[in-house]
Amino acid sequence: MDRRNFLKAAAIACTAAIPAKDLKANEKFKIDEDRVGVLVDTTICIGCRNCEWACKKAHNLSTEPLEKYSNREVFENKRRPNNKALTVVNQFYNPKNSQLPIDVKVQCMHCDEPACVSACIVHAITKHKEGPVTWDSTMCIGCRYCMVACPFQIPAFEYDKALQPKIMKCDFCIDRQKEGKLPACVEICPTETLTFGKRKDLIEIARDRIKRKPNRYSNHILGEHEVGGTSWLYLAGQDFSKLDFPKLVSDPAPGVTESIQHGIFAYFIPPIALYALLGGIMWINKNKSGEE
């Protein structure tokens, strides 16, 4: 192989790699200032679990009749959202008043910078600029990396299905929202535990509640800063770690991974440089052994 051939082939190899430049990060996603969220005030919730029923109804999941939901025995175990229930309410002991247990609704937090969206191999999960994080059945390949990535351990998978198993998680009732309706859980909540609105307004409301009743609330809005901010925000009368919330830092969940990825693939320069370097070494060594 002569030098010309080598250069020609190397040039072809390089040009072949260049269109792949689009691989690098999708443009910095602009999130809407007026994106919506829900404020969950756990000091108000009475644990009626109507939201669980409404959620199943809204997502065509099989459910018992609403009357059955007044059964308090389910609170004996801590439950997690799964492929059959996208939201659940858990009950915790209240150190301030043992007669008044604390009830906490759990569902997808709809992060502003979601780890699942960053992780998904095919972009099947989308963060909408209006707030919701949704999953697209037509793209998902079922690798379950979103479940590995999620810091709140929310996405669930239909392990019992041989064909078209789905990733199940709260979709913030995005279809109902498009029709101008409230999310099903917010609509049915009889106690105004759930407040739907613009996220920035909700933070104001939450701050205001803490300010007016500092004894009732601990001075912490969960979701304001955690993993870069979430659409769903929580207020509580005690430390959130006692209510089974994971301890999280305020750095966006996918942060480090994306920096590593984009570092290795900055405009595809490092891989092409490595290719050229190895090509050079090969060329030199081949000539050397040829001369011997």
């Binding site: 780890a115 191999i121 351990q153 590593i260 090509g279």
Partner: protein
């Protein structure tokens, strides 16, 4: 050296041995369990759940599989790019291992995917910020490159010898000219694929480490570090040669051949320094992040970490620096086996042991079905390896004909 080595098919060896029959049974067992997986869903035969979405199919079949197939690219770098001719004899076996290894990595991914029939989606639906996407694309391209690198071996075997059964004999000529065409064009362009193979390997070996970084606090701090990609790359490079030594010694024993000790001990000599660098980074990282404190707690994680480091890194590191080990077939095999086990342990630890989700009801342990499939896949891989080396010129044997002609010549590195 009295003999010139030449890749030869091991045609006169017996295929069925007691070991082979056990492998066939293991393979059948795996296929039975796989039927459940495909007809009743992943939940029917795995212990995977919403808390532990990934099991041994990802940790062993995929992550360890990729690492243990690293011999393909490290030997290509040594033999083709640095151009050390004396390693010629290990190139083809290493290439075959990498090719089969990656094929089974792809199969492992295929059976683990909930929607396996959408496995092609990443080719057209891109997410550049996902390390899994990068691993996927690199593995797809690399498998293709490995098969291309293997074509000349097939050409060498069949050019001028294509003899199909009577009804297909009209195809003999076209196939022969196709092989000749491939052989001719590849001999000029092969360097492109060889370099591409090395670049692709460094990329996805490291990105495989990036995979678990996003799990953040769900990962035990002994393994969770931003330099995971670097550690994965270094350990993959480190296990490349031990894996070649490991399988070369097994193959030579199984076929009753003389082991290539002079090449293998030379390979072994390079392992020590690489493992040393890996260990230095691993310990340096522990110092910087102050994760030594977690070793004072006694739990599954800390015990597994100590086993991984002692058995898989420190002991083989010491062994590879000893002349006695490098020159002894048995000890060299032992040291290589430890390194292979060490890297497998590291991948299992990173993907499974370190992964402790906050709301896990019980910790994950693989089901009988999962273990059966993993074991069965390894069995099938070994069987295919055996079929191929018996029918294609992969393993080098001393060539008697060449010996007579060249007996008194000084044989240099040239082909």
């Amino acid at each position: 050296m009295d003999f010139l080595m030449k890749p030869t098919l091991l045609k006169d060896k017996k295929f069925f041995t007691p070991g082979v029959i056990i492998l066939i049974l293991l393979a059948i067992n795996a296929i039975v369990f796989l039927a459940f997986r495909f007809f009743s869903g992943l939940g029917s035969m795995t212990n995977l759940n919403n808390q532990n979405p990934w099991g041994i199919w990802i940790a062993i079949d995929v992550a360890s599989g990729v690492a243990l197939a690293a011999g393909g690219f490290t030997s290509a770098a040594l033999g083709h790019i640095i151009h050390k001719n004396e390693y010629e004899v290990i190139l083809r076996p290493a290439l075959l291992t990498a090719m089969l290894g990656y094929t089974f990595v792809a199969l492992g991914v295929f059976i683990d995917l909930g929607r396996y029939y959408y496995i092609w989606h990443p080719l057209v639906m891109w997410n550049g910020s996902s390390p899994l996407f990068e691993v996927g694309i690199c593995v797809i391209i690399y498998v293709t490159v490995l098969y291309i690198e293997f074509i000349p071996i097939v050409c060498e075997r069949f050019i001028g010898k294509v003899k199909l059964i009577a009804s297909l004999s009209f195809l003999n000529k076209p196939i022969d000219s196709l092989l000749r065409f491939l052989d001719r064009s590849l001999s000029k362009t092969m360097f492109i694929f060889i370099i591409a193979g090395v670049v692709l390997s460094t990329l996805h070996q490291s990105s495989l480490g990036t995979l678990m970084v996003i799990a953040g606090p769900k990962m035990h701090p002994l393994w969770q570090t931003p330099i995971l990609p670097l550690l994965f790359l270094l350990s993959a490079i480190g296990v490349g040669f031990p894996m070649i030594i490991f399988e070369s010694l097994i193959a030579s024993r199984s076929f009753g051949l003389k082991a290539e000790m002079h090449v293998l001990s030379k390979l072994g000599r390079m392992v020590g320094p690489i493992l040393g660098i890996y260990l230095a980074f691993k310990i340096g990282d522990m110092f910087i992040r102050g994760t030594f404190v977690y070793l004072t707690e006694i739990n599954t994680q800390s015990i597994m970490f100590v086993i991984e480091m002692l058995v898989g890194v420190i002991v083989p590191l010491r062994m590879f620096f000893s002349e006695k080990v490098l020159n002894s077939k048995l000890l060299l095999f032992f040291a290589s086996t430890l390194t292979v086990i060490g890297v497998m342990l590291n991948r299992i630890n990173t993907f499974l042991v370190a992964y402790s989700p906050p709301y896990a009801l019980k910790s994950y342990f693989p089901s009988v079905g999962e273990i059966s499939v993993t074991v069965g896949f390894i069995a099938i891989l070994v069987l295919i390896y055996r079929v191929i080396v018996m029918n294609l010129p992969v393993i080098s044997l001393p060539d008697k004909k060449l010996v007579h002609k060249t007996k008194y010549e000084i044989i240099g590195g040239s082909k």
